[in-house]
């Protein structure tokens, strides 16, 4: 019998393509034909060994692969998208943040540096025009820095709830029938209460401490800005 025929017979038997009668004949042939038996035993040994190795390899765990896979998944989540049924973007961001602490610290430092630079620049910009008008806080001792009442910018008026500034004159025009709408802004000191002397003080100004100068200079700039904005808002109204 040719080797190809042996292989074909063994293949048919292994793949279960033989009828029961053929299988019986095959078993009888195995006892009679040494070459067929040799090849068949080799096939059985081969299958058993390969399956044994497969079992050994399949029993290996891959924790590192799994954790790297999860990290890859976490990194792949779109920033605006919502995960379906698993983790929220927030948790993913938290995962990323824990591993990006050095980067975040660097970013925070950068923001801080930019903020400090901004204040330093604004300080310089305020000092320059005031120096031209002689209203300086320099070493000449002619300082006149007004005491200031710093107010936060006024919030936008609520729809339907006008401020007393506009209602009160209207009431007066209507004979005062309609009471003014109580508003927290009524209790606030008026804009004119900001005491800013128009003339320089007659008293010789004492040299100011460095911290005092800085504290006074910055609000001047801020207050002017707010005042300008308020004027614009009122003219709009």
């Amino acid at each position: 019998m040719s080797s190809t025929r042996y292989d074909r017979i063994i293949d048919r038997y292994i793949n279960g393509q033989m009828k029961p009668a053929e299988e019986e004949d095959f078993r009888k042939l195995l006892e009679l034909d040494d070459e067929l038996r040799r090849l068949f035993e080799a096939d059985q040994r081969m299958s058993a060994t390969l399956l044994k190795e497969r079992g050994a390899l399949a029993s290996l765990d891959h924790p590192e692969s799994y954790s790297r896979f999860l990290m890859g998944l976490a990194a792949s989540v779109p920033s605006g998208g919502e995960l379906s049924g698993t983790a929220s973007p927030g948790s993913v961001a938290a995962t990323s943040a824990s591993s990006m602490a050095p980067l975040l610290a660097g970013g925070l430092g950068l923001v801080l540096a930019v903020t400090i630079s901004f204040f330093w620049l604004s300080d310089t910009m305020v000092k320059a025009p005031t120096a031209q008008h002689g209203d300086t806080t320099g070493a000449h001792g002619t300082t006149h820095t007004p005491p200031l009442v710093i107010e936060p910018p006024l919030p936008a008026p609520m729809p339907g709830a006008e401020t007393t500034d506009t209602i009160a004159p209207a009431n007066a025009a209507n004979g005062g029938d309609t009471p003014a709408v109580p508003n927290a802004r009524e209790t606030r000191p008026a804009r004119e209460t900001v005491t800013e002397p128009l003339l320089p003080s007659a008293e010789p100004a004492r040299p100011k401490a460095r911290s005092e100068r800085r504290r006074d200079d910055i609000p001047t700039f801020v207050d002017d800005t707010i005042r300008t904005r308020l004027k614009v808002e009122r003219s709009d109204r």
């Binding site: 190809t4 090849l39 379906s84």
Partner: protein, 217 residues
């Protein structure tokens, strides 16, 4: 949040995800899962990982002959799959797609490493076949005889015996006709069978009574 905690959160959603996935008529479950994976469903992603990672590892381990390299390659396969989320592309045969990536990566690695080293020149400690604890000499020889086959024959046997795919599934996966796969598999198995038969004759040892790795000094 550690990756383990992330994994726990995912495993809680796995049951829910498993119930909700029902393959629509005319579409395979894999195609359904892959679509949801691309949409960002991480629970489905984990299911895909659990379904295919073992098979991919076995494939790479047998083709590359190294468990460590196989681990790296498997990770690379998953990274490539995850990258598809940002650049989605239609995949009709997910298993075939994954094994094609695995095949290309393994071929690249073999090419770069220049694995044309004769088997006899490899030290016993570095022998790629030493994977079964307490294996006999003959078993090791049988395992190493797989390396004597050509790449395509070896790949076929690995997919069939190690990864557990039927021949018709392999045909669909490799996009070749079932008859061609059948013929190739039969030929590869016959070749391996003869190698093993010759090895058994030459060693004259019965595999069960051979010297095991543990008995060796």
């Amino acid at each position: 949040m550690s990756s383990r905690q992330f994994g726990l959160a995912i495993s809680a959603a796995l049951d829910k995800s498993a119930r909700s996935i029902a393959a629509s008529p005319g579409r395979s479950e894999d195609a359904e899962m892959f679509e949801r994976f691309l949409e960002g469903d991480d629970a489905v992603a984990v299911r895909l990982f659990k379904k295919y990672n073992g098979q991919l590892f076995l494939y790479c381990a047998k083709i590359l002959g190294s468990n460590a390299q196989a681990e790296d390659t498997t990770q690379e396969i998953w990274e490539r799959l995850i990258r598809l989320r940002s650049k989605p592309q239609p995949v009709s045969n997910l298993a075939g797609f994954l094994f094609t990536i695995a095949r290309n990566l393994c071929l690249n690695q073999n090419r770069t490493a220049g694995r044309s080293v004769p088997l006899g020149s490899i030290a016993d400690s570095a022998h790629p076949s030493c994977t079964i604890p307490g294996s006999t000499d003959l078993e090791e020889l049988v395992i190493s005889s797989l390396d004597q086959l050509g790449f395509e024959d070896r790949e076929l046997l690995v997919l069939n015996i190690y990864c557990g795919y039927r021949l018709d599934e392999i045909a669909a996966m490799l996009d070749i006709s079932p008859n061609a796969v059948w013929t190739r598999a039969s030929r590869a198995r016959a070749r391996l069978r003869r190698i093993v038969a010759d090895l058994a004759d030459n060693t004259g040892a019965d595999g069960d009574r051979g010297e095991t790795e543990e008995e060796r000094p």
